[in-house]
Subunit: 220 residues, 2 copies
DNA sequence: TTATATTTTTAGACTCATCTAAACCTTATC
DNA sequence: GATAAGGTTTAGATGAGTCTAAAAATATAA
């Protein structure tokens, strides 16, 4: 497999995410969309990645990650999430400020640094958005969770993670007082627009839109 | 000036270092040698850098950094040295292990991160090799220092910094027990091979070669 | 001062990652 | 099962950074 370039790592990570752990076939357009590039560029790159045997590729049939590719992707994800923890815990970044910088830091090549960083941070299990951090073997345990929009009415759970990690969404959550670890109970669901009435930390009830509900994951 | 690419930053840093702060003219070959590349590649790149007005360039006459280029170079150097401090102080790296990783980290783009890192480290004035860390305006005070090989016989001073930061040299210093802050007195100088007899921390006398003496800087 | 050696630049080619435009497959629809 | 619509791949070009080989300029030396 050799080493992957900066760009190759980004493609691989995108494919891994889009395939939800290596099951589904991922389309050229989906990758292009995710990486803000053009389909033709994606075709070129997936040929390279297929040659390096980190993905499986059949013309016109989409791609998915191979076992070695999955490991490589998980290492990049591990680095990304550890750096995010570092930025929030040690550099006093807000959780909506970390993504862009972590995108750069995740490509730093130094196994020793990652090992020491992990130790320095106290072997964290989750990043600031609640996503699990794989260990050096790519292992991680994801606790069962369900989106607010899919959970049953009157279900109560802990805010475990968020699907969307964009600045506007995270700033919105800050504004309404939602955070990883908060207690959320679904009080009502509005049929008209799919919005949700929720009880936050047994203190306040408020309404969130369908879009917001889909991006909040709580414990089952 | 716009932003500089990864590679452009490396060239600029090299030119800055080779010109001892932007004074002397630097030759194409010197840069090629420093960056382990070919003279032809250097010629291409210095044209680009001259177009961006970070260096002054006259064909066949060498280059030196412009005021804007000097500032840009100092920012990269600032980042490099702050990361080195981080690696040694927080990540428990040895001083001979930091260079390669800092070469990568110095190109991370995030003014906020550097500001917070500086604060986190307690606004250090020097990196693990004794080199001064410029502040955000590119200012730094370098205390007067002189190489062991140039100082007067029987001169005594503190080991302030090292010119060579390669792993073999630093490991050699570890071995003989020399470190930044150590007290060194020049006991004798051997005419035959230019080697030096020194007294280290008032404890041990030992001989170091001419090459080693040239790379150790002590207070005047 | 002319010849020689060295340094620097140019010319042309290569790789990587990207693009547009056109050609090509696959799928959905009637 | 023909056709339209959409997705995917190829062809050819571009820019960044690099290289080798050859030409041009400068420096050195007899």
């Amino acid at each position: 497999m050799n080493t992957l370039s900066f760009t190759e790592e980004n493609y691989l990570k995108s494919i891994y995410h889009l395939s939800e752990g290596g099951v589904k076939e991922v389309s050229t357009n989906a990758i292009a969309d995710d990486l803000q590039t053009k389909a033709a560029s994606v075709t070129d790159m997936i040929k390279k990645l297929a040659n390096k045997e980190v993905i499986n590729y059949k013309k016109y049939k989409g791609v998915n990650v191979s076992p070695t590719g999955k490991m490589a992707a998980l290492q990049v994800i591990r680095k990304h999430r550890l750096w995010e923890v570092f930025l929030v815990e040690k550099m006093k970044f807000n959780w909506d400020q970390v993504h862009e910088v972590a995108e750069q830091l995740e490509h730093i090549k130094s196994p020793l640094l990652i090992q020491r960083l992990d130790e320095f941070l106290g072997y964290p299990k989750n990043d600031p958005h609640g996503d699990p951090i794989p260990d050096e073997h790519g292992e991680f345990n994801s606790k069962p969770q369900i989106s607010l929009s899919e959970a049953e009415l009157h279900h109560e759970g802990i805010l475990m993670s968020v699907k969307d990690t964009s600045t506007p969404f995270l700033q919105y959550l800050d504004k309404i007082g939602a955070y990883i670890g908060a207690k959320i109970k679904i009080m009502d669901r509005v049929v008209f627009d799919g919005s949700h009435e929720i009880l936050l930390d047994n203190k306040r009830t408020l309404f969130v839109s369908k879009e917001v509900a889909q991006n909040i994951l709580i414990s089952e």
